[in-house]
């Protein structure tokens, strides 16, 4: 179904899927699979807890930074990198529940030096930029070139590394194609194109590394997304791997949400989500899509 209504629903599913994956994975972040098994059996319920001691349904920096990107676009009615940086700064000052060290450095350098692009750094291959890229895909609907440009621009606020850049573009592309109703093969093509250029991302055989290194995160996401058949199956598998579970969950949720659509997100997870977050993301999805080239007939 490619009607505009269906597109808005899949765009909404992408952002809500991100939040659900974040909240679900936050419980098992930094845990090992055997410890998750011992403590929860199979973790498949939004229960909060985790190292951040969260109330159930609470999201973390993965969703909150995505919200920042969305807010900036909507506030300006278009793309304004400084506005995105400003939203990140406002968020950081508000004592968020967690902030990655690379993200914190980049935002601090924006606050103190008005820096909008961090210098290249071999240690910047973390997943902090890819985890927040989904709103870009909604705003750039219909224009994969614009999508690729903005995906990297927002990344460079905090991360400057070829693998982070490529990951942002690929995740955004997969979300984009999912929302447009492209069959799974189209999403797989994007993942394989990335793995072709960068063997670090090969995902056929999964070796169980769920770290914050962006290649590990995306290999986990790709492997679990392409080897499962439903949104729920994909997310449950991914968050039970532990490691950087909230971020892997958030990225998988964004992609799987875009592909499987709203109806595929288990209702019990949606209602467990922080209501304010659920409301804002639902609104934002609608508005972002309306600003996109596809909807503006550009």
């Amino acid at each position: 179904d490619h009607g505009s209504g269906a597109i808005v629903r899949r765009a909404t599913a992408s952002l809500l899927g991100l939040a659900v994956g974040d909240a679900l994975g936050a419980t098992t972040e930094f845990m090992k699979p055997e410890d998750i098994r011992r403590q929860y059996g199979v973790h498949e319920r939004i229960r909060g807890g985790g190292w951040l001691n969260l109330p159930p349904g609470r999201v973390t920096d993965d969703t909150e930074m995505s919200q920042c990107v969305a807010r900036a676009i909507l506030a300006k009615g278009g793309w304004d990198l400084a506005a995105v940086a400003e939203e990140f700064a406002r968020w950081l000052r508000g004592n968020p529940v967690d902030v990655g060290s690379t993200c914190r450095r980049g935002i601090r350098d924006y606050i103190l030096k008005r820096q909008l692009s961090t210098p290249p750094n071999e240690w910047d291959a973390g997943n902090g930029a890819a985890m927040r890229v989904a709103p870009v895909a909604l705003f750039a609907l219909g224009d994969e070139e614009l999508l690729a440009r903005l995906a990297v621009e927002q990344a460079r606020l905090t991360h400057n590394h070829p693998l982070s850049d490529a990951s942002c573009v690929t995740v955004a592309r997969m979300v984009h194609r999912g929302i447009l109703g492209t069959p799974m093969a189209g999403l797989r093509a994007a993942a394989e194109e990335l793995a072709g250029r960068h063997p670090e991302f090969r995902f056929e055989r999964y070796e169980g590394n769920a770290t914050a290194y962006v290649a590990d995160t995306l290999r986990t996401v790709f492997h679990d997304f392409f080897s499962t058949r439903t949104f729920e199956e994909c997310l449950v598998r991914i968050v039970n791997r532990g490691g950087d579970a909230d971020t892997a969950g958030a990225i998988a949720g964004a992609v799987a949400g875009a592909h499987y659509g709203l109806e595929a997100i288990p209702r019990r997870w949606l209602v467990a989500l922080d209501p304010a977050v659920r409301k804002e993301l639902t609104e934002a999805a609608k508005k972002l899509v309306r600003l996109s080239p596809l909807f503006r007939g550009a």
Partner: protein, 112 residues
């Protein structure tokens, strides 16, 4: 990289932490110290006799920052720690040759 060490009045800690938070600086190490200087200690009653306790409790902050942020961080600490009365404290800047984040092994700027 530099180490910014600040000796401040204890009640100023929260204000200094918040001002640093506003500029995105969160990491620091804090210790309780005793200060001797122009500010006079207080008198204490002990077993019926009055004693001049000549030191004053202070808080010491240690914050490692990249060179290009030193001036701004010093200024933020200075402003937020100041009351204008004797004993406000001091800030020292020393050079740090290497920093390591123990968890990840990251070195240099990536460690702060």
């Amino acid at each position: 990289m530099k180490k910014i060490e600040a000796i401040i009045k204890p009640f100023k800690l929260d204000e200094v932490k918040e001002s640093l938070n506003d500029i995105g600086v969160q990491g620091m190490t804090v210790s309780e110290v005793k200060g001797f200087g122009r500010q006079k200690g207080h008198t204490e009653l002990y077993r019926g006799a009055e004693y001049v306790v000549d030191f004053l409790p202070k808080i010491k902050l240690e914050i490692i920052v990249p060179d290009d942020l030193v001036a701004q961080v010093v200024e933020v600490v200075e402003k937020s720690a100041r009351t204008g009365r004797i004993g406000d404290g001091k800030i020292f800047v020393t050079n740090v040759e290497e920093v390591v984040r123990i968890r990840t092994g990251e070195r240099g700027h990536d460690a702060i």
